[in-house]
Symmetry: C2
Subunit: 314 residues, 2 copies
């Protein structure tokens, strides 16, 4: 391993495009593996608009996974609905002893990657950021950007802050990204769900952005109830964190630029929704732990129907 770590980014979307660009700007070798966007990025560069400054970057981009050099860290920034396709690519991209960083939402998202490349270290990352892909090779970063990450363990127990996790955190710091390691990845995953479960689902069901959900008394109350339901479910699963977390999340959301959550963007663009990772897996896990999550189940049932009808007509 060289002192300057190299990165492969799978998925040049809102998340992968943004963090890959930051790492590239800081001088790390970054290889983007793209599908439909590869040609566009090769010809026009990767464009990132951000409150921190706009940039068009000439980057290393590949469409053939066989051509991508082996990197120290492979960032999986594809949607969970594409996990099966990414898993199929992984063995040729990821060498034993290297690291896979899973930048996805939801619960249980690391397991398929660990099974695909058992000789690699798998990290899970929670990205607290507002960023959209607005066109081919064009990312619009709106707000925030903090990453928390921790090492995945098959038994679900806290790995502590490992060298691999700290190493990626250090690289992100070098790239100017606010990042911190978490000792317990699963708890971090549940914390992210406290936001994702209400705001992603309600934005789709109600055709509303974050500001509209919070402006309306009934939907703000509902979002808050669902947030507490997720906190209780997390607690039942052994991931205790303080209820004040809900208030902090609400304050952050109130202060952010009105934002269409990623699931709403997927819905509006006719893409399948990440229902398994963000809803079905947490609901099943909480159910098994004796926490029934009735409100979340209502949202999930509604979203399943809207998803099917949406993908059909798109």
């Amino acid at each position: 391993m060289s002192l300057v770590h190299s990165f492969t980014v799978i998925g040049t979307g809102a998340i992968g495009g943004y963090y890959g660009a930051r790492l590239h700007q800081a001088g790390f070798p970054v290889r983007f593996l793209a599908r439909s966007d590869a040609d566009h990025v090769r010809q026009h560069g990767l464009r990132v608009d951000s409150p921190e400054g706009d940039a068009v970057l000439e980057v290393e981009v590949y469409d053939d996974p066989a051509e991508v050099p082996s990197s120290d860290t492979t960032i999986v920034a594809a949607k969970t609905t594409d996990t099966a396709a990414v898993v199929a690519l992984l063995p040729q991209l990821v060498a034993d002893g290297t690291t896979v960083l899973v930048m996805q939402n939801g619960l249980g998202v690391e397991a398929p990657f660990h099974r695909a490349v058992p000789g690699a270290t798998v990290l899970g990352a929670m990205c607290f950021m507002c960023s959209n892909k607005v066109g081919p090779g064009h990312i619009r970063h709106l707000d925030y950007g903090e990453v928390t990450l921790g090492e995945y363990r098959e038994d679900g127990r806290p790995a502590g802050v490992t060298a691999a996790a700290q190493g990626v955190v250090d690289d992100l710091h070098t790239a100017g990204v606010s990042a911190s390691p978490v000792a317990d990845l699963e708890t971090g995953r549940w914390q992210k769900l406290v936001w994702n479960i209400p705001f992603n689902g309600l934005s789709v069901v109600l055709d509303a952005n974050t500001a509209e959900i919070l402006a309306d008394e009934s939907t703000r109350g509902l979002a808050e109830l669902i947030m507490h339901e997720v906190v209780h479910a997390a607690r039942a699963c052994g991931h205790g964190f303080d209820e004040s977390f809900v208030d902090r999340m609400l304050t952050n959301t109130r202060e952010m630029t009105p934002y269409r959550p990623s699931m709403k963007l997927d819905y509006d663009d006719g893409r399948p929704l990440e229902l398994e990772a963000i809803y079905a897996a947490p609901v099943a896990t909480a159910n098994a732990a004796g926490a029934p999550m009735p409100r979340t189940k209502v949202l999930l049932a509604e979203l399943r129907r809207l998803d099917i009808a949406n993908v059909k007509t798109s």
Copy 2:
């Protein structure tokens, strides 16, 4: 009181238009009090399309409540969102000793009419029917038509089958309408809510008719869960009825013509939704009885937001 009872119908919509037409066809004097439709009905008659036969009827129609002769029974078939306006008209329409028949959905709907005309007998009716108003003075009856009705008591306790209730049931029979008296109006109200709460709300939130809600596994499951939630709430409020009622309702719904419930029609036409009567009142009543109705509350919060956004843009 003459042997042939007379009727005033307030609201010439899907419900009032249909039952009023049936009574008129059977020879009862029926006075329709209409608003925007009065002129149209006067000129073109009241048109009722029905599997039982189509008809265009020359009927007695009024737009000035002061001109309506006093009737033995006044049928309130306006939306609950119009209750305040109807209450204001009632004292000039309803004489002491006559009957008010409230053909509305929801809980607590009779109380305002009882307060407006305390010298009248107030009956509440549950109409199990699929009928739409499709144009001015034009009703399309699709399916069913059964009415159950019972006498309202201020203390909410069962009135038994009273002479007033039986009298209206007999008149409806004469008009060829399937009707039966209920000894306990409140229990009847809750039974109707077992259908209304899931199907009205889900049809709006999911933009789906009854067949689409039942065709999708997740929404059928959700509808069923909500139906059981309503049964449990009713039981907590002292209105025990058998859980098999849910299965019968589901079977009926499966067998009916695919149908947009009344709340979906209201929503699609930009009218305010009957959220207080169908959702907020049952939720508050059940809450007070220790039944929290979490799924129904999710629907209610979603519907409040959709209602506001809908009425604003209409």
